[in-house]
C-alpha cells in the first residue's frame, strides 16, 4: 500500500510518500525561516505554505504544490498508484494546518482517493516505533509545540507528564530570539552549537519553562550588559537546566512504568546534549533523530544503542567507540575510512554512493532501506 502524506502543523511543510512497511520513498520539505530575532506567526507561515502568488512573487518562496510534484517524482510513482492521502489533522497552528487539509481534500477530489486524518503526536511516536522496532517504550516527545512524556498503558497512549505552560522547543526558540541567534536551520540547533563554547553555569533554577525563560531573558540583558558572562555561557546554562528537567521526568516515568526503553521524538530530540543525558539515565536506549552531529565518545556511553538518523554528519572515529551499533541513515554523508572503523556495524542507507563506497571497503553489511525488516530480524 502506498500513502502520500502532507504535514504542515508548524513552520515546516512536507510531503512524504510511504509504503505500508515503513519504507520512505520520498520526503521533500521546506521550512519557513524568519529573520533572526523573530518567530513565525500562523498567518505568514500559512502564506508561505500555500500557493500564494502575491507572497511568493516577493519572496520566491517554495509552495506546497511543487512539493507534491517533487514527492511523486522522487518516489517514481504516479497519483494512480496511491492508495490513500493523509494529512496532519492536529494539533498545531491553525493556519498552516488548514493549508495541508485543503490541499489534501483537493487532491482527493482530483485523484479519487480516500483521506486519512492523522494525529501529529501519535504519528511521531508510531514513526519512531516503526523504524526502531521498539515494542513498548516510554516516549519523550519534545518539539516546538509539545513536551510530553507518553507511554502506552491499558490500551491507549497516555500522557504521564506534560508541560503546563510552554513547550520546551518554544522555550528554546524564544531564548534564541532574545540572543538574536539565526533561525537557520533551526534556533535550537544554533543554541546547541553555541552552548558547546560555554562553560560557566549561570543560576537558572525555576520549575516552569516559562519561568526559566523570563529569568533567562532578564539575565540576557543584565548579565550581558555587565559582561558577567557570554551568550555561549547562557546557552550552556539554559540547556543544562531544561534538559536536566526533561531527563529526570523521563526517568521518573520509566521507573513508574517499569520500562527500560526510551524513544525520543520531536524536533528537540535532535539535540545531542539531551540524547547524552538520556543515555546516562538508562541502558537500552533507542535514539531517533534528525540532523544529529555526533561527537567522538558519545556511543561509548551506553551498550546496545540504536541510532537512527537522517542527515548524519559523522566524524571519523565515532563508530569505533561502541560495539554492536546499528545505524540507520538516510542521506548519510560519510567520509571514506569511517566504515572500516567498527566491528559488527550494520549500516542501512538509501544513499547509493555510500553503498558503493562500503562495498569497496569490503563491508558487506550495507543494506538499502528497502530491506528494513531484515535488519530488525538481525537485531532480534
Amino acid at each position: 500500500m502506498l500513502a502520500l502524506g502532507i504535514e504542515g502543523s508548524a513552520n515546516k511543510i512536507a510531503v512524504g510518500v510511504v509504503r505500508d512497511d515503513g519504507t520512505i520513498l520520498s520526503n521533500p520539505r521546506k521550512t519557513y525561516i524568519t529573520p533572526a530575532g523573530t518567530g513565525f506567526l500562523p498567518r505568514e507561515t500559512a502564506l508561505h505554505h500555500q500557493d500564494c502568488p502575491a507572497f511568493a512573487r516577493d519572496h520566491f518562496f517554495e509552495q506546497i504544490l511543487p512539493l507534491v510534484h517533487e514527492a511523486l517524482k522522487e518516489a517514481g510513482i504516479s497519483p494512480k498508484e496511491l492508495d490513500c492521502l493523509c494529512y496532519t489533522k492536529g494539533p498545531g497552528m491553525g493556519g498552516p494546518l488548514v493549508v495541508g487539509a485543503v490541499v489534501t481534500r483537493m487532491l482527493s477530489q482530483l485523484w479519487h482517493k480516500p483521506i486519512v486524518g492523522v494525529n501529529h503526536c501519535v504519528a511521531h511516536i508510531e514513526m519512531g516505533r516503526v523504524v526502531t522496532g521498539a515494542v513498548d517504550p516510554v516516549v519523550l516527545y519534545v518539539s516546538g509545540g509539545n513536551t510530553q512524556v507518553i507511554a502506552f498503558s491499558e490500551g491507549r497512549y497516555r500522557i504521564f507528564g506534560e508541560t503546563i505552560d510552554i513547550a520546551v522547543g518554544n522555550c528554546l526558540d524564544r531564548f534564541a530570539r532574545e540572543l538574536e541567534l539565526s533561525n537557520d536551520p533551526a534556533p535550537g540547533y544554533n543554541i546547541e552549537q553555541l552552548a558547546k563554547k560555554g562553560s560557566k553555569r549561570a543560576a537558572l533554577l525555576s520549575r516552569h519553562f516559562s519561568g526559566i525563560l523570563s529569568h533567562a531573558e532578564t539575565a540576557v540583558r543584565e548579565m550581558l550588559a555587565k559582561e558577567e558572562c557570554t551568550p555561549a555561557d547562557l546557552c550552556y546554562s539554559f540547556q543544562e537546566t531544561i534538559f536536566a528537567m526533561l531527563v529526570e521526568i523521563t526517568e521518573r516515568a520509566m521507573a513508574h512504568c517499569g520500562s527500560r526503553d526510551v524513544l525520543i521524538v520531536g524536533g528537540v530530540g535532535c539535540n545531542l546534549r539531551l540524547q547524552v543525558g538520556v543515555l546516562g539515565a538508562g541502558p537500552a536506549v533507542l535514539l531517533l533523530c534528525c540532523n544529529l552531529r555526533l561527537q567522538v565518545g558519545v556511543l561509548g556511553a551506553g551498550p546496545a544503542v540504536l541510532l537512527l538518523c537522517c542527515n548524519l554528519c559523522l566524524q571519523v572515529g565515532v563508530l569505533g567507540a561502541g560495539p554492536a551499533v546499528l545505524l540507520l541513515c538516510c542521506n548519510l554523508r560519510l567520509q571514506v575510512g569511517v566504515l572500516g572503523a567498527g566491528p559488527a556495524l550494520l549500516l542501512l542507507c538509501c544513499n547509493l554512493r555510500l553503498q558503493r563506497v562500503a562495498r569497496v571497503c569490503g563491508l558487506a553489511r550495507v543494506h538499502p532501506v528497502s530491506t528494513c525488516e531484515n535488519v530488525f530480524h538481525a537485531r532480534v
Binding site: 494539533p91 509539545n146 504521564f160 508541560t163 553555569r201 536536566a244 521518573r252 520509566m254 513508574h256 546516562g280
Partner: protein
C-alpha cells in the same frame, strides 16, 4: 585508605530493592530493625553543580517533610538515621504493598478500592491542611499496611512546605493524572479520592476551585485529530 562506607558495612549493596528515579533503595537490618535505606547518588546526566544543589536540597527536605507529616498524624516511615555525607536516609520499612500493586493485582474488591481511594483523599487533605505538599503523589508512593490496611505515604523526595492553594491544586492534579494514566480500568476512583478530600479538608472550596483552573490549564485537552 579507603573511606568507610556505612552501607557496605551493613551489607546493603547485596540487598538492592529498587532503583527508582530518585535514588537507590536498599533493605537492611539496622539496629535489629528492618530498615529501608534511600541513597541519592550522583546523576551523571546533570551538571555537577546543579546535581549537588538538587541532591542536597531534596535530601534535607525529604527528611524534614517526613517528620512534619508524622506530626500531622499521617502514616509515614519513621526516620532512624540520616547520613548527610552520603545523602542516605535510614527509615522504617513499611510492611505491605503499594496501592498501585494492589490495584493491578486485583487484590481489592471494587468496594475496598473505593474505600482506599477515600482514604487517599483524607490523607492528602490532612497533609495539605498541615501546609505540606507531597510533590509526587502517585499510587506507587502509597502503601497499604499489612494487617491494619492503613494507608501510608512514602517518598517525600519532592515535597515542600506551602499553604498556597495553587500548590495544593497542582498536587491533586498530579494525582489525578497518575490515576487516569495507570488505573483507568479500575473505574472512576479519583472521584472517591476527591470525595475523601472534600469531607476532610478545611479549605475544600478554595483548593477545589484552584484545582479546576489547574486542570483547565493542561495543554491540548481536546487533542483534535
Amino acid at each position: 585508605m579507603t573511606e568507610y562506607d556505612p552501607l557496605e558495612a551493613l551489607g546493603a549493596y547485596d540487598k538492592l530493592v529498587a532503583q527508582g528515579a530518585e535514588g537507590r533503595v536498599f533493605e537492611v537490618l539496622y539496629l535489629k530493625k528492618p530498615t529501608i535505606v534511600k541513597q541519592r547518588f550522583k546523576k551523571k546526566y546533570r551538571h555537577p553543580e546543579l546535581d549537588a544543589k538538587l541532591t542536597k536540597q531534596r535530601f534535607t527536605s525529604e527528611a524534614r517533610s517526613l517528620l512534619k507529616a508524622r506530626k500531622l498524624g499521617i502514616h509515614v516511615p519513621a526516620i532512624y538515621f540520616t547520613d548527610a555525607q552520603n545523602f542516605c536516609i535510614y527509615m522504617e520499612k513499611i510492611q505491605g504493598q503499594s496501592v498501585k500493586a494492589a490495584l493491578f493485582n486485583g487484590d481489592l474488591t471494587p468496594e475496598k478500592a473505593t474505600t482506599v481511594a477515600t482514604q487517599i483523599g483524607k490523607t492528602v487533605a490532612k497533609l495539605h491542611d498541615g501546609g505540606l505538599i507531597h510533590g509526587d503523589l502517585t499510587t506507587s508512593n502509597m502503601m497499604l499496611k499489612e494487617g491494619s490496611g492503613e494507608l501510608a505515604l512514602i517518598d517525600f523526595g519532592l515535597s515542600f512546605n506551602s499553604i498556597l492553594t495553587e500548590d495544593k491544586g497542582v498536587d491533586l492534579y498530579v494525582l489525578e493524572r497518575a490515576f487516569l494514566s495507570a488505573h483507568s480500568a479500575s473505574g472512576n476512583l479519583f472521584e472517591s479520592v476527591l470525595d475523601g478530600y472534600r469531607k476532610n479538608s478545611k479549605n475544600w472550596s478554595s483548593v477545589y476551585n484552584r484545582f479546576a483552573t489547574v486542570r483547565a490549564r493542561g495543554r491540548k485537552r481536546t487533542m483534535v485529530g
